[in-house]
Amino acid sequence: MIPALDILLIVALLWLARQALVARDLFKGVVLFIAFGLLLALAWVRLRAPDIALAEAAIGSGLTGALFLSTLGRLRRMEREAGQAEPPPEDGRRGGWTGGFLTAAGTVLVTALLGWAVWALPAGAPGLGDAVQARLGESGVSHRVTAVLLNFRAYDTLLEVGVLLVAIVAVWAVARADFPFVTRNAEAGSVPPQQTALVNLLVPVMLVVAGYLLWIGATAPGGAFQAGAVLGGAGVLLLLSRPHWAVLPERRWMRTGLAAGLLVFLGVGLALVIAGRRLLEYPAGWAGALILLIEAAVTLSIGLTLTLLFLGGRPAAGDPAPTMTHTNQQP
């Protein structure tokens, strides 16, 4: 018997996803996608995956949603500047009724095939849960997900931190920060006082929450990703409202902060190799401390990376960007 709540949740998720994907108005689609992400976090809780729920709410729905919304804002601004009153109509891709029908039929066929394979999955559920449980005591942490992420499969996580750095290098290589977009409000002297007050209030709370998530990750749901996501959220808030005390670090420090996670992760791994152990083979008794060290650096880098990804390009040398206070104090 399936609980009614699960059925309701799944129906709502599928409906939201469909509405988000067919919406001609992209703004509507993105808002529906954010709602979809929040419900998804609820689904993860139902599936007893609180770590994922935290990450989904912060990254999957929150920061991804913010990225989409700021992109739409920039697109509209470009269209306005190009003199397009209305966004250009979306050109149909697969022309004609038959094309659309064939695409739909093909997708349904593929989905049905996949669904059949899932339906026919063998009942005896194998998995590595027992293997993780058996070695958990040696991992240096007592939370199983953190043990997998930063010890048993730490190499995956190392490469993944590399993916984050690739993303920022790529974004910096492709585009310059469109800083006027971000600072438009502040330049007009019109960051509403409520917003400033909220940011002044929330950012310290978010810093505390990030620290708490980082610390608690060793024993309970939480860890570097969730903490980094909260830091990233705080960074986005700062970019949008630029309170007088917030200053973008100099580019040298920015680079160092972005690379810190990979640097410390790889450094610890290689130091262990030099000490005659294997890559990321923590010595007994040291595992917990080394994991916390790596996680702290990774948290910092993830937070900074997510913030700067939201900025959407390399901060240029000539812009007032590096010191955020610059324009804020003008009347």
Binding site: P122, V163, V166, L270, R278
Partner: protein, 398 residues
Amino acid sequence: MTDGADTPSLVCLIALPLAGAVAAFLWPRRAPAVGLGVAGLLWIPVLGLLIRLVSQGEQQYELGGWAVPLGIALRADGLSVFLVLMVTLVGGAVSGYATGYFGGVCWGSSFSSLPPAEDGEDGRDGGQAHERAGFWPLWLFLWAALNALLLSRDLFNLYVTLELLGLSAVALVALADAPVALGAAMRYLLVSLLGSLAFLLGVALVYAGYGTLDLPMLKAALGGPVAPVGPVALGLMTAGLLMKTALFPLHFWLPPAHANAPAPVSALLSALVVKASFYLLLRLWFEVFAGVATSGAMRFLGVLGAVAVLWGSYQALRQPRLKLLVAYSTVAQLGYLFLLFPLSSAAAGGFTAWAGGLYFVLAHACAKAVMFLSAGSLMRAAGHDRLADLGRRCARCR
């Protein structure tokens, strides 16, 4: 099979370019020197690995000291070491070329008159600066991803390396900030992400059905009765990898992406990046899923390859621009690679087909890299790569 705990050459092959990428990101001015240093230093672990492979056979390395299936292991056998050797050779040559192409290197190069690279962040000095600033970290990340992919024996880890490879490759294409290149990079990114997602869903199905991510363990598990999840997972992963390898008719993204990237990038993409996903296909079809893949499916891939040879060659001959011609020839040459599937499963001549196929991989990597690099030099000299006008220009060069 020997465990390589005492000689960390397997780890160095991945860690060295990764560390180089961070260094190139932190010190943009020194990036070309870092790149060349990595290209040179990498020969030490490569040759060390080769010697051990010859003397002791297959090497493996359990990362973090955790045995599979809990941990992740690296593995080097003949096929992967052969390809690592190829990457080191071609990658080193392209690195040398790139120091000249992107300028900013301190010794005798015809382009050293360009302004120093600074960190290329203001984009005001002719648009070259950010190309230079972006190329080295991205290429070193790409290099790390290639080696990691060739040495991994864990399915999810392979997904992460595929993403690292795909994102850095796309960004390298987008370095040529021209409208056509940006469109090509965007299309490449969409295809690459779709391919990765299909691969990831295949990995998820494998884990759901067999409870392991380790390739050799999966192979053993597949020996039992075949559930539908096995072939479906193989189909998904294959579809994703075929997109990334650009087998006809999924090749549409390749010519614009390879032709409009900066010359060293075109060389790397055509010579190495498409081979990485091809290598994974070989692994999956001939080793892990050998009992699942039917000869009919092998023949189907062979037919697609044959069509790709004809179609790619025909299109290549029709192209007005040199780099597009070379890019379409890649489509054709990739078709030859897929002839390996039906040929090697034939009872007789299987070994000959393998030997021929691998030799072809190496030959194509070297030849195509050189072709793109030469095309880049011609483009620099002539200012364009329209075939009709190049002849006159080159006559003058002499």
